[in-house]
Symmetry: C2
Subunit: 253 residues, 2 copies
């Protein structure tokens, strides 16, 4: 219903928070890191080579679509490197981000199995490298290598759990709770101080708000409230958690 445009530029790509440094190195690396895509224990070298043989790799410029909602999915899509926003593009070219993937990760591992169209639009935020696995060839590979099929099952199971929790939070948690939960989820524990932590925001705050199902204004106010309460301290894209216990308590309710 919205896949009319072919491959036009979606205006200039949005500004992105400063990279964490390690990512520039990753971008230079051309091979697909299947271990990180599949998750769990590192796959065997033979499996990786078999997948590499199947994968058809292409580059997408920043601001360009990787795939569009409504387009028939014939391949499993992997993001090799770069950042991609998944969501539904409105008529004005505006994108409401529902998920943001970066580094090696699945972009759509499910639509192809159903033989249906993609449910979301995917737009590159940075220059991006994408690998695609044709469904037919992949099925043949899975017959030879059952271990790979199991890895794929686990990947989808992870996705199901993520989405189940997400849907639950959207239904039954209010905006402050969702934000606290989101922050608590990506706290990096500090060795010396068990009640403190740091969260580096790798995306624009408005994108985070979009993923949490709230307006950027609302999120800004909630961040202000949290820092007024002394729970966090915000400085640009760095959030210092001053009272991790309190944050977890807010995330629970």
């Amino acid at each position: 219903m919205s896949s009319a445009t072919t491959s036009t530029v979606i205006a200039r790509p949005p500004r992105v928070p400063p990279a964490t440094g390690a990512r520039a190195v990753a971008s230079a690396n051309a091979v697909v890191r299947w271990g990180e895509v599949l998750g769990g224990p590192p796959p065997s070298r033979a499996d990786c080579e078999a997948l590499d043989a199947l994968a058809s790799v292409r580059n997408v410029a920043a601001g360009q679509p990787v795939f569009a909602e409504g387009a028939l999915a014939t391949t499993l899509v992997v993001l090799v490197c770069g950042d991609v926003a998944l969501g539904l593009a409105g008529p004005g070219g505006a994108m409401r981000t529902e998920r943001l993937e970066h580094g090696p990760a699945w972009l759509d591992a499910s639509s192809a199995w159903l033989g249906t169209a993609h449910v979301l639009d995917a737009i590159a935020l940075t220059p991006v490298r994408v690998a695609e696995l044709a469904l037919g060839a992949l099925q043949g590979l899975l017959d030879e290598r059952p271990a790979l099929g199991r890895r794929l099952l686990v990947s989808l199971a992870r996705e199901v759990r993520r989405l189940t929790v997400h849907a639950h939070e959207l239904m039954h948690k209010d905006a402050p709770t969702r934000l606290a939960s989101w922050l608590a989820e990506r706290c990096l524990a500090e060795p010396g101080a068990p009640n403190r932590a740091v969260v580096q925001l790798a995306e624009r705050k408005s994108d985070i708000a979009s993923q949490l199902g709230m307006m950027p204004e609302t999120m800004s106010r909630l961040m202000r409230t949290l820092s007024d309460q002394g729970v966090i301290e915000v400085e640009g894209y760095t959030v210092r958690v001053l009272d991790l216990q309190a944050l977890r308590r807010l995330a629970r309710a």
Copy 2:
């Protein structure tokens, strides 16, 4: 965090709308109908027998939990017959239904693959028969029968798509739109009248509201609004759609 109670009765099971008739027959049938669980084309007879050999079947009385949030999942859980509510049980024994399965269907096909706990509580609404597939044995079976693994992949892919759409609607659609979308989704087309349809509610309205992420009062008001507009006509658990086109329009926005 909430799996303290062992297997206590959750008070009396809630009242359920009148069955559609065909279901009583289904309950008498003891075998697992794998075709309906897996979806798509009917699986081979050999596959079905292999699954039956693996399945450990048990009965659960109405009102009793099938599994609990927080309990380690070691098996894939299939609902053979009966109705089960999936959601999160509050401290007061009250259940906020997030999904309601009936007839042959998966209850949880993902948690076991992750080796983690169930994310939701499952409580039988009617007398229920459940089949469980131990993960270890199933993996052995999948090595022998790759076709089964593919069927499982497709099942999980279907679940991913369902949840993706659901999360999208919760984020970006308001309550009237979600209700219209829900109704339009389960319209049975009437042969003679292309713009009319009938929806038989198989669940309590409050359960439908819960699945749509709104309060029962809100849903009641919205149903009233729709019938005031002449879009639908409500009589108990029967909803007659008088203007299918209008309903679809309301569901889109």
